[in-house]
Structure formats: structure tokens, C-alpha cells
Symmetry: C2
Subunit: 148 residues, 2 copies
DNA sequence: TAAATTTTTGAATATAATTCAAATCATGAA
DNA sequence: TTCATGATTTGAATTATATTCAAAAATTTA
């Protein structure tokens, strides 16, 4: 008998959820069929990309969160987009943005703890094309994607 | 006949979604009742906080994204937590973290455009307790919460 | 104003979630 | 190892919900 949680968490992070039409109908005062019609339309228009679960990061081995500011090495002629796409492949990386200001990239990383972050940084950040990085560790998440 | 989209978007941002047990069952090879049991358990343990929709920000008046690094004014004796909680109240603020490094706070902000960001910054960032801010505008979101 | 289009609705159907009792599996004490 | 206890999985029955579809209402266009 295997532990189903890890697999369920991975699937629910990406999708495998669906809107509750009847609840939305009750809340908005419309009929469920009307909600259905409107939501299918939003899905078709690409407004809604997916439905997913929001987790308590501290309870799924993602308790350590950092923002990494990245300066590229101009001599390597790598674009921010190329480097960004490489970083985006890591499952620890929650977001990657190309930015204006003193850095080319900002990356949000979630790991279990500082040790896992160290291992991540060695393989992901010590690469050709990245000149310098500045890691900002989150001490407290006051607000995050989920407001509840 | 009112446009239902704005209301639906607001509700779906926070919740009003539910896992698709039968799909998860098919995917994992377990029975739907087993998935049900396991997910209820995760909900009870506080691992799952909610189920929500993921939107294409560019299609819901949130096309402009910035990261704001904040230095507090020590003379005002406000804690990062106090200032952070004030900022968290704005609906344009996606996340607020207290961080280590050269700044006390990092805030992720989503607005329709640069004009709305300017209005936001005037009322949210020009307050007692905040000394200096550095705004990093996202030019391209290479990866964000949703991977698909 | 009429015609065409979009949106809402109700009724019928199809799917899926939930409940619950029984069976299976895992764990630890004797 | 065996037995007893608790946890997890399962199947059957029920309940709730989503989906389909044709018709009605509302809106837009000509």
C-alpha cells in the first residue's frame, strides 16, 4: 500500500480541479447552466488556464522560499530568455521573470530547507552565462497567491 | 443582463473549485473513494488550503507585473510586519515577503498597466515607514505559478 | 422595427461525489 | 509468529452536480 499523497500533490499542483458551478450559481444568483455557459466561454477565450490546488508550502517540503536576483555575464552572449528557460525547468523554481533594473532576471525558488537550496544553487546558478546572484530569503510570507 | 465575468473571476481567484476525484482516480490507478478519503485527509491536515482557477493575467487587466524591493525608515519604528500587512491589503498585491539581504520587504504587484501601477505606488508606497523602494518591472514572465 | 446573434433558462440525462459498511492492509504488542 | 488494533481501500447505494439541448429572453445589428 503506497502513500498516495506525493502523487496527488503533484497532480493537484498543476490541475485536476474544476469549478463548482452550483456553488457559483448560488453565490451569484444565476442558474448553474448560465455559469456553465460563461465559464466554458472564458476557457475558450484562454482567460482561465487551469484549476488547481493551493498548498500550505510549509507542509509539503517547500518551507524555504527565496528570491534570486541574477546578473548575466555579457561575455557569454546568452540572452536572459535562454538562461531563464533553463532555470524554469527546475521543479523548485516557482517563477522566472525577465526584469528591468539592476538585474536581468528574478527567480522565486521553493525548497524544503536551506540545505536543499544550497544544492539547487550549486547546480542551477553556478553556470556559464550567470555572472552574479543575490539571494533574498523569505523570513515570513505575509501574503501569497492564496488569500484566505 | 449583467456581465458575469468580473464576479466569476473574483470568486475563482480565491476558490469555488474542487478536485476531480474520478480523473485523479483514473490517473493514479486508485478508486475514486480512495482518492476521496486521501484528499479529505489532506484537507483536514491543512495541507491543501484551497482550490482555485489560474488566469492568463494579460487577459484580466493584470498585464503589468512588478517586484518592489522596500527599505524601511528606521526612524519611524514600524516593523516590516506592520508595513507588510498594510501592503497586503491592496488587491493589486499578489505577495508580500519579509526578506534577508539589503531590503526588508519584497512585494509582487499586478496592475493593468504602468499608469495603474503609478497610482498604486503613490498611495501604497509613499507612506511613513517606507524609506526607499526599487521597482523591478517584469518584461517577460518565463514561468509563473501555472506550468502548462 | 425586424432580423440576427448572444445569453439565459428549464428539463432531461449523464457523471461524478459522497456515504457507509465491509474487506483489506499495516503495525505493534504479546 | 500470532493476534488485536487502527488505518486505508473498496464496492454498492445514494445524493449531488455537471452537461446537453431546445426554447425563451435579452441584446445587438442592420
Amino acid at each position: 500500500m503506497k502513500n498516495l499523497r506525493p502523487e496527488l500533490i503533484e497532480l493537484l499542483k498543476k490541475g485536476y480541479c474544476t469549478p463548482r458551478l452550483s456553488r457559483l450559481a448560488a453565490k451569484t444568483g444565476s442558474k448553474a447552466t448560465t455559469i456553465h455557459y460563461n465559464i466554458k466561454q472564458m476557457e475558450g477565450d484562454g482567460i482561465v488556464k487551469s484549476y488547481k490546488a493551493v498548498f500550505d508550502h510549509s507542509k509539503i517540503e517547500e518551507g524555504f522560499c527565496t528570491f534570486v536576483l541574477i546578473n548575466l555575464d555579457r561575455r557569454e552572449y546568452k540572452t536572459p530568455e535562454e538562461i531563464g528557460k533553463m532555470l524554469a525547468k527546475y521543479q523548485q523554481v516557482e517563477s522566472v521573470d525577465i526584469i528591468t533594473g539592476g538585474w536581468e532576471l528574478i527567480v522565486k525558488v521553493r525548497t524544503k530547507d536551506i540545505e536543499e537550496y544550497y544544492e539547487f544553487s550549486k547546480k542551477a546558478l553556478l553556470i556559464r552565462g550567470i555572472d552574479r546572484t543575490q539571494t533574498l530569503s523569505s523570513l515570513l510570507e505575509i501574503k501569497s497567491e492564496f488569500v484566505g
